[in-house]
């Protein structure tokens, strides 16, 4: 008797490969983005089947949701200029394809040669879970054992927004389309729910799948909806507050890491009694930074006063 789930897995795997191929073969940019979003959702499902709900949440929220929004926004900026290059099958493409195929074959070979269920750090993670201050192993890894990595991931987002703000693209002549009443109604319905889901994801991260990045992405979606519906327009006067929102996660995370390093403790070594509170505070503030940064990345430019030169351009 064949397990139903095995059939499901097989279909899922084939669908993922098919949709990935579709993204590459399609020539219409909008269709490509839609396929990419579907690809992301199916991948999230695959992560669930692989018993990695944290990754699934991140894939769905960031890899699919925010990335899809960014891609669509970029498409809107192109204003009708789509990717027109036809699909070619010439020498360089074929050479690249065969090289990629070779590398993939090598990968499969190497994968087959590795021990199944080989060594890992799960045991060590579980042993030290009590001392980490949180009950969810993934959160323990991200916010305690390897907190430095997570700090630097937050820094990556900070660098990204600084780099985006540093590029002055000028103001486009055509006004962006304003969403109609349907969207405004949708926003009224979805905003309170999104706030609750985002905060819940953050809070539950201590004991179950969830956490700062996933919660931040959901909260960023609120920012996206506010921006799309024009319920909120970034103004030059808001830049100071925005800067604070971008850096506060990094700054607090780093400050706590340095501050706890006294009385013989190392950097990032939270005192056991305060570990859980510190981790939750750090996660909450980092969530704010992630949400603000992702929403600002979607907006895509520093809100500066329109100068004469830009207005002419």
């Amino acid at each position: 008797m064949i397990d139903v789930l095995i059939i499901f897995d097989l279909v899922l795997a084939l669908a993922i490969i098919a949709i990935a191929a579709g993204v590459l073969v399609l020539r219409d940019a909008f269709a490509m983005i839609v396929c990419f979003v579907v690809f992301g959702l199916l991948s999230a499902l695959a992560w669930v089947r692989l018993a990695a709900p944290d990754v699934a949440l991140a894939e769905a929220a960031i890899g699919t949701g925010v990335t899809g929004a960014l891609l669509l926004k970029t498409l809107a900026h192109l204003r009708g200029r789509t990717l027109s290059a036809p699909l070619r099958m010439d020498g360089p493409v074929l050479a690249n394809a065969s090289l990629c195929a070779l590398a993939t074959l090598a990968g499969i070979g190497a994968l087959l040669a590795t021990p199944i269920g080989g060594p890992g750090l799960e045991g060590l993670v579980a042993q030290n879970l009590l001392a980490s201050g949180v009950e969810h192993p993934v959160t323990a890894v991200l916010l305690n054992y390897r907190a430095f990595d997570t700090l630097m991931e937050v820094v990556v987002l900070l660098v990204a927004i600084i780099a985006v703000w540093s590029v002055e693209r000028g103001v486009t002549r055509a006004p962006a389309p304003v969403m109609g009443e349907v969207y405004a109604g949708f926003a009224r319905l979805i905003l309170p729910a999104a706030v609750i889901v985002g905060v819940y994801l953050l809070w539950v991260g201590a004991i179950a799948p969830g956490g700062a990045f996933q919660g931040g992405a959901v909260l960023a979606a609120i920012g996206l909806i506010l921006l799309i519906t024009r319920a909120y327009t970034p103004l030059p006067a808001h830049r100071g507050a925005a800067r604070i929102a971008f850096v506060i996660g990094t700054a607090l995370f780093a400050a706590v890491a340095l501050f706890v390093a006294q009385g013989g403790r190392a950097t990032f070594e939270y005192p056991a009694a305060y570990a859980k509170s510190l981790i939750l505070i750090i996660e909450a503030v980092v969530t704010i930074s992630i949400a603000a940064t992702l929403a600002a990345l979607f907006h895509g430019r520093e809100p500066v006063a329109v100068t004469v030169r830009e207005a002419r351009a």
Binding site: L124, A147, D149, V155, L158, A160, A163, T267, E269
Partner: protein, 491 residues
């Protein structure tokens, strides 16, 4: 050896630039002051760390108190100290140069924008670079190279000009592809070894998944280091950025991925001589192709950028000697060359920026027709050229000498020939602008002798002087490199 110290200078080396970047982003009005202060503090951190490492041996800090493999260890040995010192020394002088390039004297919206954003991007870059030199964990290194790459791309497009944007986009694609290959390799290595720290991975070297992981990392890091034939993104990116950004990109950013490759090669994977030969051959290709392009190009900044391609190739010749009897000498030579190139190339880009600023163009053919001769900047350029060519007493000379000595010990004469050929090539292409500087007979108007001198000439000139005389302390530098025996015990 773990040391408990009152102040964690090692972690501060990473955190000081990070907090400085945060402050300079928050208060853009005084960003330059914050930037210089941060550089001074980072210099202090590196000095204090060096004062611990040089007498006491490597310093290891277990972040969070967990220790590898569960947590992350940061380690500073002699090699890391030298690279950190290179960061703050070159970075400090480039910062001084940036003060003028982005000074408030240049009116206009664009200048104000660059002044606001240069400092946070550069300080975050420094944070990533310092972190990469201290890391002992491959996933941590992945995060670090992401920070480095994004900050470097931000610096590339800082001028906002269209050519810089195009080059920056190309750079971003290359850099992201390199990072993704690296990440795939991290996954494979974890699958095989079940841990991510250097020491834990080294045990598994030679197993199939680890070999594939190394192959992926080699390609990814070669992309980021712009090793021929994966250098395609470099010339435009480095030539179209502003002068201080080019100096940082060429002098410091490339060294991080090269250093990571070197560490992996020596500490984890230890691949066979054939792979070494392959990298050496790529280096040889880089020397030839980079030099030929440097001989052909019409623009001064492009010449300097193509020379970077060739010089990176020369450093990579050391990989061909891995596993031979001359390996240790060759590695030391490679590290010296990395530092020498960082100092000299930063000086050269700053000087080239000054020359373009004074003469109003950077066409090599018109250098000798100009009656404007920014002689101090040209002098700095020439001094930097001495180190890049490898004339005594420069650090470039010492590094090249060690590299060739390693090759001779190994009896691999072919690499001596390659290094020599690289030297001749660099004389050829660097003499193109030098001839332009020194010819006066084609200038239509009388040439003013002290024209175009400015305080802004000081940073490139000082860097160039350091590049030339630092060969005199090469023995001491090698002594520091050897602390903690990064290249194994003396054979």
């Amino acid at each position: 050896m773990t040391e408990i110290v009152s102040l964690d200078w090692l972690a501060l080396t990473v955190f000081v630039p990070l907090l400085g970047a945060v402050l300079s982003f928050l208060v853009p009005r005084i960003a330059p002051q914050i930037g210089l202060m941060t550089l001074a503090l980072a210099g202090l951190c590196v000095t204090m760390l060096a004062l611990q490492v040089i007498p006491g041996g490597p310093v290891i800090v277990a972040l969070g108190g967990w220790g590898a493999p569960l947590g992350l260890d940061l380690r500073a040995d002699g090699l890391a100290i030298i690279m950190l010192g290179m960061n703050v020394l070159v970075g400090g002088f480039v910062s001084l140069g940036a003060l003028d390039t982005f000074s408030a004297r240049h009116a206009g919206e664009e200048s104000a924008r660059m002044r606001r954003y240069f400092w946070p991007l550069w300080l975050l870059l420094l944070c990533g670079l310092n972190g990469a030199y201290l890391s002992t964990d491959i996933f941590n290194l992945y995060v670090m190279i992401e920070v480095i790459a994004l900050a470097a791309i931000g610096l590339t497009v800082l001028t906002g000009r269209l050519d810089a944007m195009r080059a920056g986009l190309e750079y971003m694609f290359a850099s992201m592809l390199g990072a993704l290959l690296f990440l795939m390799a991290v996954g494979l290595a974890y699958l095989q070894a079940g841990r991510l720290d250097f020491a834990g991975l080294a045990v598994h070297a030679g197993e199939p998944a680890m070999m594939l992981a190394f192959a992926l990392m080699l390609v990814g890091l070669a992309l980021k280091t712009a090793l021929f034939p994966l250098h395609f993104w470099l010339p435009n990116a480095h030539a179209s950025a502003s002068a201080p950004a080019s100096a940082l990109l060429s002098g410091l950013v490339l060294k991080a991925s090269l250093y990571i490759l070197l560490r992996f090669w020596v500490e984890i994977f230890g691949p066979g001589e054939r792979i070494g030969m392959l990298v050496g051959a790529m280096g040889t290709g880089a020397i030839i192709w980079g030099s030929v392009q440097a001989l052909r190009t019409q623009r001064l900044k492009l010449l300097v950028a193509w020379s970077t391609v060739a010089q990176i190739g020369l450093i990579c010749v050391a990989f061909a000697l891995a596993g031979t009897i001359g390996a240790q000498t060759a590695w030391q030579g490679a590290v010296l060359l990395m530092v020498a190139h960082a100092v000299a190339k930063a000086a050269m880009f700053l000087a080239a920026g000054r020359i373009a600023q004074e003469t109003g163009h950077d066409r090599i053919a018109d250098l000798d027709r100009s009656h404007l001769r920014p002689t101090l900047a040209q002098f700095a350029f020439a001094l930097a050229a001495i180190s890049l060519i490898g004339l005594p007493p420069s650090a470039g000379f010492a590094g090249k000498w060690l590299l060739m000595e390693g090759a001779m010990r190994a009896g691999a004469w072919i690499w001596v020939v390659v290094a020599m050929a690289g030297t001749l090539f660099s004389v050829a292409y660097l003499s193109r602008p030098l001839i332009g500087f020194l010819r006066f007979d084609r200038a239509p108007d009388p040439v003013g002798e002290h024209h175009g001198w400015a305080i802004a000439d000081a940073p490139p000139l000082m860097l160039a002087v350091i590049a030339v005389i630092s060969g005199l302390v090469a023995v001491q530098i090698i002594g520091v490199i050897s602390i903690g025996a990064p290249f194994g015990a003396v054979p």
